[in-house]
């Protein structure tokens, strides 16, 4: 700009100037241009100086404070909890009617009429939930979280609401409130973080759709080892849906040990878990039949779990995950000690940042109970996922389900689900 106007000035002057004056002007022009280029160089060196300059006096701590770039005043809204809204729903198609599906049973685990189906329960459209999650640091000592599900039918459910410590020493952290147990690999995860649209069969059969947990307290310890080693204990109120007696207070105890190591590029994660609580030993009438909802004594429910995950990262955003979990339960009931066990194995292939696919096999392979001992309950699932972006996901899943009985008859259920999950707002990142 400046150069141009100078040139223009020089030209107009030249029109009216004599030859000698022209020579002088040319000289002056050259001088001016030299000055200009020197100034430009100077500006460049000024620009390249670090953005923050510091006078070299004061203690190290003071110097550090001085160097911090002055950011704007934090607004009051930064003290509001982080709020996230998660929407999940979709379209479902099954070869059975809605009534048949909701009245189905898993023999020995869930009786007909007791089945709770919070997600994709109907043929056709389902709005599974709008999840509202809030979290914040309370003060220097505590963090707090609350997660609510507002279901399509208008019911509101407190998924979790708890506070945890920030400042305990020795690698300890305590948690109190209502929360999901860290038993096993998937129990703690929320629906939108599940690998498939529905819960793993063994988790569903033993603990119900909400998983193991509830109102309780937890203490976890991370060992001071160079590899990951974590131990935890938990205490919950007993809950009948989870296979315990809900009649007495905090009687369900959980403990677990988890460890992980990296082998080359691969990550191995393994854990063992144990849960124990009261079961209800129901009364029998004179003919030896169970009197429903009657009991005078408690037995024990014990659940043993083991899990193993292998994750192998591929080029770019791809990864291969092989995840497995096994559970074994003994439960004292009126006439016997039930022995039941199941497992799942799933292989997940993340192709790139947009596409993922996976296959899962679920089986309840042991099922000694007093009603109907069938042990060929199993299910196979495949899925295909598309994520246009980090915060939206579409998932197509097909299940061939041999785990349910309808009207006391084994019935193979075919189901096809297309679901969406959208995450809005400040949602905390998920753990491994």
């Amino acid at each position: 700009m400046m150069k141009k106007s100078l040139l223009w000035l020089a030209c107009t002057c030249a029109l009216f100037a004599s030859d000698t004056e022209l020579e002088q002007l040319k000289k002056q022009m050259a001088q001016l241009q030299q000055q200009l280029s020197e100034m430009q160089k100077h500006i460049q060196t000024l620009e390249s100086a670090p953005s923050v300059t510091v006078s070299d006096t004061g203690s190290d701590e003071e110097m550090l404070e001085k160097m911090a770039s002055k950011s704007e005043k934090p607004s009051v809204t930064t003290l509001l909890p982080d709020i996230a809204l998660i929407l999940n729903g979709g379209y479902t198609s099954r070869n059975v009617t809605n009534t048949q599906y909701t009245n189905a049973s898993i023999p020995g685990f869930v009786n007909s009429g007791d089945m709770e189906i919070p997600f994709n329960s109907k043929n056709g459209f389902n709005l599974n939930y709008a999840e509202v999650a809030m979290s914040s640091t309370v003060d220097p000592y505590f963090d707090a979280n609350a997660i609510f599900h507002i279901h399509g039918d208008g019911t509101l459910e407190v998924e979790e609401a708890f506070f945890s410590t920030r400042a305990l020493d020795y690698g300890l952290r305590a948690k109190v409130g209502k929360f999901k147990s860290a038993f096993g690999r998937v129990n703690e995860k929320h629906h939108h973080a599940w690998n498939f649209e529905d819960q793993e069969l063994v988790n569903n059969a033993l603990f119900g759709p909400d998983g193991l947990g509830g109102e309780g307290a937890q203490l976890q310890w991370v060992a001071p080892t160079p590899f990951y080693l974590m131990a935890g204990i938990e205490l919950f109120n007993g809950n009948q849906k989870q296979g315990f007696s809900g009649k007495e207070s905090a009687t369900t105890a959980v403990s677990y040990l988890k460890t992980s190591t990296d082998v080359g590029n691969a990550t191995l994660l393994g854990g063992i878990s144990y849960a124990q609580g009261n079961s209800e030993v129901q009364n029998l009438n004179s003919t030896g039949d169970i009197i429903p909802d009657s009991f005078t004594s408690y037995g024990k429910t014990k659940i043993y779990g083991a899990d193993f995950t292998l994750e192998y990262p591929l080029e770019g955003y791809g990864s291969l995950i092989w995840q497995n979990e096994l559970m074994y339960r003994t439960k004292d009931v009126a006439t016997m000690t039930q022995k039941q066990a199941g497992y799942y194995s799933e292989l997940l292939y993340r192709i790139d940042e947009n596409w993922a696919t996976g296959i899962r096999y679920d089986e309840l392979y042991k099922n000694q109970n007093e009603i109907l001992s069938v042990n060929d309950l199993h299910r196979t699932s495949v899925k295909l996922e598309y994520k246009p972006f980090e915060f939206s996901r579409f998932r197509l899943q097909y299940n061939q389900d041999h785990s349910r009985y309808i009207d006391d008859q084994a019935k193979t259920i075919h189901e096809l689900m297309l679901n969406y999950t959208l995450e809005l707002g400040a949602h905390g990142a998920h753990a491994f």
């Binding site: 923050v52 920030r166 400042a167 690698g171 974590m230 990550t267 972006f389 491994f432």
Partner: protein, 291 residues
Amino acid sequence: MKKILLVLLYSIPIFASMHVTAAYPYIGELVKAIAHDKAQVNVIASASSDPHFVVPRPSYIGMLRESDLLIINGGGLEIGWIPPLLNQAHNPKIIQGAAGYLDLSSYVKLIDKPASLSRAQGDVHAEGNPHYLFDPYNIPQLAKVIMFKLSTMDPAHKSEYHANYDVFAKHWENKLGQWEKTMAPCRNTQAVQYHELFSYFLKRYGIRTVATIEPLPGISPSSKHTLDIINQIRTDKIGIVLQDDYHEPKTAQFIAAKSGARTIMLSHDVGGQNDTLDKLFDTMVEQTCQR
């Protein structure tokens, strides 16, 4: 007896040395340059993966459990993976707000701070562009911050930290002079990048980013957007397309083949062939400005 005492005294600093965890390799390099053997440095992320999406492996929890100091890049770059790790590490020394939590982004000026914030604009960072590492003039500033932090936490080795910093700063000043010379002919040129990753570097040396291969931050390339870029390169005679090593390079190669621009593969952190900070920038300078 005296000798034994001396040996004991000398051996204490080895056991007492600070455990520092660096979020990214370049931070680890800076800590090593300042601390030498006076601190044990662990690095979480690697140069081969997207710095935004590091898998929060449980082994990092063990690392963080034992740390006295955690140094992060900040500016929202680690938002997707550091919080769950910190949450599980149960180490009050390094949680946000503690003395052992150092966010380097608080000590540099971030560019491209969005005027308005909406995820309709893709994955925008509210704080501005977090890839400030690529302005080589920020590096001594970061080294200085680390020097003061280490000196505050470990005053016994203060003089060493200061001396090491002086050596590093002097060396870096030399390098800055060299790079300035090499980059000078490329001033006032234009470039295309995949993501706004090398913006600080390009801005520093007067190269304007006219387009990104991803239509919006975090969104994969679309064919229409790619064709637009090819046309723009042809009409504006843009010479270079900068490609990082974690996004797919096919789109950049396609653009280069169709438009005649030169694709440059650049590392986004210290590692692999560019295993020092010097090499990282040397390569970047050499590749970007070939005259």
